[in-house]
């Protein structure tokens, strides 16, 4: 099952463009539209932020509000562009086989998100955030992780961290995050059940915002290397000439891409030892 979004910038009226966002699911049954949102750029509307697939699709729905005192967009009084902020965000879930999103009551919108049934790990968005001229919602996060149960759609726990996570992953039992701090970049691991801190490992300086969690292994990217933590031991799985991007894990196989200076890209697969 694959989920992706499309965000089309389209002329909306004489002074503003709009952003039409659609969330799509593609699977054996074909392609289905899961959600649509519309935002009048620099004015108001709704959008779709980070999402993850975990026996269904959990996605962030953002609300943008016009905040300029003259309410240029709403009233058209001064002919200005308007000023907009992302003022709230919620988490929605579309179960497998359904095309109807339901709001997970009380769940925050995510700046980073990971799912592995039934665990949902959310780094809550910082609210509010300025939109500027952006088409898509901003993704600054907070220094917290919330763990939710997708089966019951209830919050299990929350944990405060030493910094704002730049990447999060879960294997359903544990949550792992890359957390830059003033003292260095940490690999933090929490229980997905009660958010108890399982371990913190200080990594090298060149850690990138990439992390995946398998059943017994956590994998991340440092410089041009793919690194792994397994059985309390850190090993280098691979070092290449180009920086790995988009690290992901499926059925014991790591996948990432590299892009050369000319823009051409390759997708690489590596069996996890």
């Amino acid at each position: 099952m694959l989920v992706y979004d499309s965000v089309d910038r389209v002329p909306l009226n004489a002074t503003h463009d709009g952003a039409d966002t659609t969330l799509w699911r593609v699977g054996p049954g074909g392609k289905a539209k899961l959600a649509t949102e519309n935002y009048e750029i620099t004015c108001s509307g709704t959008g779709i932020g980070p999402f993850a697939y975990g026996a269904g699709v959990a996605f962030t729905r953002t609300v943008m509000t016009e905040v300029d005192p003259g309410m240029e967009c709403l009233l058209g009084s001064g002919g200005g562009d308007g000023v907009s902020r992302m003022t709230s965000a919620t988490m929605r879930y579309v179960p497998a086989g359904s095309t109807t999103p339901v709001t997970i009551s009380g769940a925050p919108g995510a700046s980073r998100i990971a799912a592995r049934w039934p665990a949902l790990a959310i780094v809550p968005l910082r609210i509010p955030q300025p939109m500027g001229d952006n088409v898509t919602p901003p993704t600054r996060g907070t220094n917290q992780i919330e763990s939710w149960n997708l089966r019951t759609q209830t919050r299990r726990c929350a944990a405060s961290l030493a910094g704002v996570p730049t990447a999060v992953a879960t294997n359903g039992v544990q949550i792992a995050a890359i957390v830059p701090t003033p003292q260095g970049t940490n690999l933090a691991r929490l229980s997905a059940i009660n958010c108890a801190h399982i371990g913190v490992l200080t990594l090298s300086r060149h850690v990138r915002p990439e992390i995946v969690a398998g059943r017994h292994t956590v994998v991340w990217v440092a410089g041009r290397s793919v690194m792994a933590l397994s059985d309390h031991r850190v090993t280098r799985l691979y070092r290449g000439a180009l920086v790995p991007h988009g690290l992901t894990l499926s059925n014991g196989r790591l996948v990432w891409w590299v892009t050369g200076s000319g823009g051409a890209s390759r997708v690489l697969r590596l069996v996890l030892p």
Binding site: R112, A167, P209
Partner: protein
């Protein structure tokens, strides 16, 4: 630990180290594209990647490709269309890449 046990342990460790070195994995290329990839996701034995490219006339080509983790021909559920598409994400593990950085969320 006796001497014999120590020798056995040393041999096992040496063998383990040698096996690790000998089995140093090499990644397999499963897709090649002339366009920059900006997002990737994998699950259920399949991998999806998204390319995003702006040509000299300003046309945007944003497409999503899906293929087996073993490689092979990709299907294209969202083909390249020359519109102003700002989408950058795929399900599960999602990352967005610019020339300067990659952000995964």
């Amino acid at each position: 630990m006796g001497i014999a046990a120590a020798v056995v342990t040393a041999l096992v460790c040496a063998a383990s180290t040698a096996a690790t070195a000998a089995a140093a994995p090499t990644p397999t290329t499963i897709a090649v594209t002339t366009k920059p990839i900006i997002a990737l996701a994998a699950g259920g034995g399949r991998v999806a990647y998204r390319t995003h490219f702006t040509d000299q006339s300003g046309g945007v080509c944003n497409s999503v490709h899906v293929m087996s983790l073993n490689g092979g021909n990709a299907s294209v559920p969202s083909p390249c269309v020359h519109t102003d598409d700002h989408a950058a994400w795929l399900s599960g593990r999602t990352c967005s890449s610019t020339t300067r950085s990659t952000v995964c969320r």
